[in-house]
Amino acid sequence: MNAAGIIFSNLHDQRITELTRQRTMASIPFACRYRLIDFALSNMVNSDITNINVIAHYNYHSLMDHIGTGKNWDLARRTGGIKILPPYITAYANHDNALYSTRLEALKSVIFSISHIQEELIVLSDCDVICNIDISKLIKYHIDSSADITMVVKSVNLSSYIDENHIIVKSNNKKEITDIITYPVDISGPQDISLNIWVIRKDLLITMVNDALAHGYVSFHRDIIGKNIGKLRMQVYNHNEYSAVISSFNNYYATSMSLLSNPDIRRSLFEIADRPIFTKVRNSAPTKYVGSPLITDSLIADGCVIEGTVDNSILFRGVKVGQGATVKNSILFQDTVISNNAYLNCVVTDKNVVIREGVVLSAHQTMPIHIEKNKMI
């Protein structure tokens, strides 16, 4: 595939501060054993894109730990493979000591690396979108429609109040972009929203970023896409299989829970032939059920030992649920320990959380609570 990938690991971190305090958007855990970046990486690898740059910004230790050499995605390669691009700051030129805060600034900071990419096309992707998309079809569409830029969108029925984080894309009947609404206010009804995946020619991307640099532009959508409507050939590509954009903590919780209630979502993410979602291998033993615990409607990773009741919940690797404990409507990250007779309802526990014996924590589905990493309750 004559395309390289660029993944933005930190954009949108501020939308979900509960989970990004000690990690990037890219390394937010999802669905028992994955991190959000696994979807972007696997989508690219499954379409033979094997030269991938991940732009990192801050607190990217968890991301580096997750990616390692890239071998779990078959990206440990002599040619191409995966590269993490931390902020490029030279000691003498860093007057304002500023790291980037927008996509465009992120691209500026790594323009040197981008200019070394040999591939003709570049697929850009964020980490806040959860989908299993055939990128080779997207690229074929991009080439067939002789587009300069192709943007992946999803048709949704927007309810006016909740979706302020979405970017709305308007297009005509030839699928040409006619308008971009970056800060939608009070828009509802059927709309196309951006899935934050694009295809663009490498030389065009470099020209645009340099041009933006010269003009002091900061917003990719507003200043690059928006200003070029009618000048460049910009197409939308509809991905109408399942996808979710994580826009808040509540939305993260709801998206996770939908995996339990809707088997079709699980199938469209994880059970498409030849398009598996890869992740870091942890070598957990299988999960062991001791005695006769009551387990219903739950997704459970390997390495767990379960003696208590689990209902409508998501358990990551290495979780322990003690005797007489009850876990309902909850998401338990890696190595959470629920001691005997504890009771959890609508709780998201971060890594290594310990809930002591008999503790009761109960919230509501519309307002789940988050327990920080390494905390003991």
Partner: protein, 400 residues
């Protein structure tokens, strides 16, 4: 230039495992699935890397394709080393001769060149059909302390069972004075585990001498060890106290799987200081639906459970339909137990389908053996599968 290694491990993985019947029809015994997500060979390989032995030759012969693919470059076990690592060693054609591995000793003899490349002081001989966790490095220290020519790992077995094993008769200092293969009247209860550490030079001398003897069956237990004892070499027994199971029969394979269950299992897979590594599949977590129940069982990635699972081991991507019952059984990867089917005291090999309403096996108390369903079979309602039957593709038509 190849750096010197202190100890090279040679893993005998060529056995056919004929007593596993249909399970080893298309697979070498070391590649037989075990414990939800492992293969038998993961145990010796993980023991090697956990014991800091990073050079392992795997001797293959019978049905090597699956095993070769599984081992690959050794990356899952951290055995993809620049110097050393894991190497698959099939029999090969040399200038003067080409021959299959005639016996365990001959297999090592044919790979003397491989061992010599690393110029080791010691050679560790392992077999690929046992489930156990063992620190080979501790055994090597013992071997060095005793200044032995050969050290043999032994396990205390009940006297009543000793006649099933190769028995080491030892002096008070654990030196071996006699080896008896399956003795009628055992004098000791120290059973050989088939794990040996040799001084390289001594081993090579005996292998070369053994090869010249046309009457020899080229076997470590039958020939090499007795020859060394006859010549007065120093052989020591190294006592091992942990869990160890030969999974060479359907019954023992079933038992070893069941030994993983329970709060305090006989064999613990959850010890993070001694992880067992394996080749991973990119599969989603398992899902247990509203109608599903799981008790005292092991379940792994890709499974979907809508029926009742009790006292069983499920491998990856097993589907249990609504109303189906799986009890006292082992279900290998990708098999489907359709709604209302009933599987008791059975082993179902990979990618088979037990159709809706079919009953396989019988309650453990009433069955006189384990029912085994081979791989890639579809068992339908018109088939009568007798209890304790071994069902493979060829036998399938007999049951209609």
């Amino acid at each position: 230039m190849i750096k010197k290694k202190e100890c090279v491990a040679m893993l005998l993985a060529g056995g056919q495992g004929s007593r596993l019947y249909t399970l080893t029809e298309k697979t070498a015994k070391p590649a037989v699935p075990f414990g939800g997500k492992y293969r038998i060979i993961d145990f010796p390989l993980s023991n090697c890397i956990n014991s800091r032995i990073d050079t392992v030759g795997v001797l293959t012969q019978y049905q090597p394709l699956g095993l070769n693919e599984y081992i690959g470059n050794g990356e899952p076990w951290d055995l993809d080393r620049v110097y050393g690592g894991v190497r698959v060693l099939p029999p090969y054609q040399a200038q003067k001769s080409a021959s299959w591995y005639k016996g365990t000793a001959n297999a090592i003899y044919q790979n003397i060149n491989f061992i010599d490349r690393y110029d080791p002081d010691y050679v560790l001989i392992l077999s690929g059909d046992h489930i156990y966790k063992m620190d080979y490095n501790a055994m090597l220290q013992y071997h060095k302390e005793k200044n032995a020519a050969c050290t043999i790992a032994v396990l205390e077995v009940p006297l009543s069972e000793a006649s099933r094993f190769g028995i080491m008769n030892t002096n008070a200092d654990n030196s071996v004075y006699e080896f008896e293969e399956k003795p009628k009247n055992p004098k000791s209860t120290k059973a050989s585990m088939g794990i040996y550490i040799f001084n390289k030079k001594t081993l090579f001398d005996y292998l070369i001498a053994d090869e010249k003897d046309p009457k020899s069956s080229n076997d470590f237990g039958k020939n090499i060890i007795p020859a060394m004892l006859n010549s007065g070499e120093k052989l020591f027994a190294y006592s091992f106290n942990g869990y160890w199971k030969d999974v060479g029969t359907i019954q023992s394979l079933w038992e070893a799987n069941m030994d993983l269950l329970g709060k305090n299992p006989k064999f613990n897979l959850y010890d993070r200081s001694w992880r067992i590594y394996f080749r991973n599949n990119p599969l989603p977590p398992h899902f247990i639906g509203k109608s599903g129940t799981v008790s005292n069982s092991i379940v792994t990635e890709g499974c979907e459970i809508f029926g009742a699972v009790a006292d069983s081991v499920l491998f990856n991507s097993v589907k249990i339909g609504e109303g189906a019952v799986v009890k006292d059984s082992i279900i290998f990867p990708g098999s489907v137990i359709e709604p209302g089917a009933n599987v008791e005291y059975s082993i179902v090999d990979s990618n088979s389908v037990i159709s809706a309403g079919v009953h396989i096996g019988a309650p453990k108390e009433n069955a006189d053996g384990i029912t085994v369903i081979g791989s890639n079979l579809k068992i339908t309602n018109n088939m009568k599968i007798p209890i304790a039957a071994m069902v493979n593709e060829n036998a399938l038509s007999n049951f209609i």
